[in-house]
Symmetry: C2
Subunit: 222 residues, 2 copies
């Protein structure tokens, strides 16, 4: 059986889970409290990070970029990168954009300050960072709306990793109720389509221990 | 003709240049003073970053991860990722390790503080960061030595992007004279092999305006 070590609120873990779902690959989930740095887990991944994917043949994969490329190479029936080098370049460009730029400007400032600090016990949330995170969301929602209107999905006609990366980050922030959906109709319509996919439902059904989700978080009509 | 916008000391630009060299792809280099954020350059890449690679057919590629994957897909004669999904996963794992971890712990602390601050005019170097950068180098040189001894090149029998990424970061730090080579023989032997490659020589021959390189920087015997 395939195994994924994960922490439910981390975008990288959500990306891998939804990719496995899109590709119809079954997986045994192991929730890892990474801040505890358990010896048994460090034996699996000395870097102490999630996601860690262990394939049925024992192959152990770490790092989001390693896992996403591997899955598309080994299980190409449902391609998530695109059909040709140019399409794949555009998907990867958007993956980098949302994972690194949205991640740094929004997710780290909101999920990092409000939730991860509590688990890692690194002190009180920094209000300046929370404010900065909220200020930067609109710019990214506009861009998502623009792409989704032009292209159907973010990187083109078909759903790709670009959608999964953007949705994973948005959903983690949306868990905390920090996305002003009412002002961003196109982005909201696109996110409603991601939310309704069977690959995404189980992620939204999962709770973070000790952290209540926003009321609308799981709803398809939000 | 192919065009690469670059800034010579940035590892990501060195990686793309050496990859083009290994693949014997000619390129017209344009040195970009990214801190000036020229309008003409922002028209090429609104993100304002280098490297930017413009292919002969006009295809414009940004972001290291996008460019490295694209080059191996479109010009596979000299593969730099590896021959099968597992080999490519290992190459990518080491690319992430050196570009993100070495980058954050060493390059950002040394090249960032000592050189980039001056160009970006963001104040005086922070001595704590310079000290931290120097402290972390040994750990990474040990790891490079371990890999090179086991495997010939870092990811396996053949030279891959893993070597180019590690060497690009090391060479940028070595420009400043901050690598204690005398204590790390295996890493030094591996780096001497990278230095002697025709793909790497032109990079070492280039000077950063206003910054003198360490005396041994270009030498094959260092």
């Amino acid at each position: 059986m395939r195994t994924l070590y994960h922490f439910t609120l981390l975008p990288a873990c959500r990306i891998v889970r939804s990719a496995l779902g899109e590709k119809k690959l079954e997986v045994d989930l192991k929730a890892e409290r990474i801040w505890e740095q358990r010896d048994d887990f460090l034996a699996v991944n000395p870097a102490g990070d999630v996601p860690v994917l262990i394939e049925p043949d024992g192959t152990t994969l770490t790092e989001l970029w390693v896992i996403t490329e591997y899955l598309d190479e080994v299980y190409p029936d449902v391609p998530l990168l695109g059909d040709d080098p140019l399409a794949r370049a555009e998907t990867r460009r958007l993956m980098v954009w949302f994972d690194q730029r949205f991640g740094r400007e929004v997710t780290d400032n909101l999920v990092g300050e409000k939730v991860l600090r509590r688990f890692y016990r690194t002190g009180q949330p920094v209000s300046d960072r929370i404010r900065e995170g909220k200020e930067r969301i609109g710019f990214h929602l506009d861009y998502i709306g623009y792409l989704a209107e032009q292209r159907n999905w973010l990187a083109g006609e078909d759903l790709t990793y670009a959608d999964l990366v953007a949705a994973a980050h948005l959903s983690a922030v949306d868990y905390l109720g920090d996305i002003p959906w009412e002002k961003y109709h196109e982005a909201k319509n696109w996110y409603a389509r991601v939310k309704s996919r069977p690959s995404f439902r189980p992620i939204l059904d999962e709770l973070v221990p000790g952290v209540a989700p926003a009321r609308h978080y799981r709803d398809l009509d939000f």
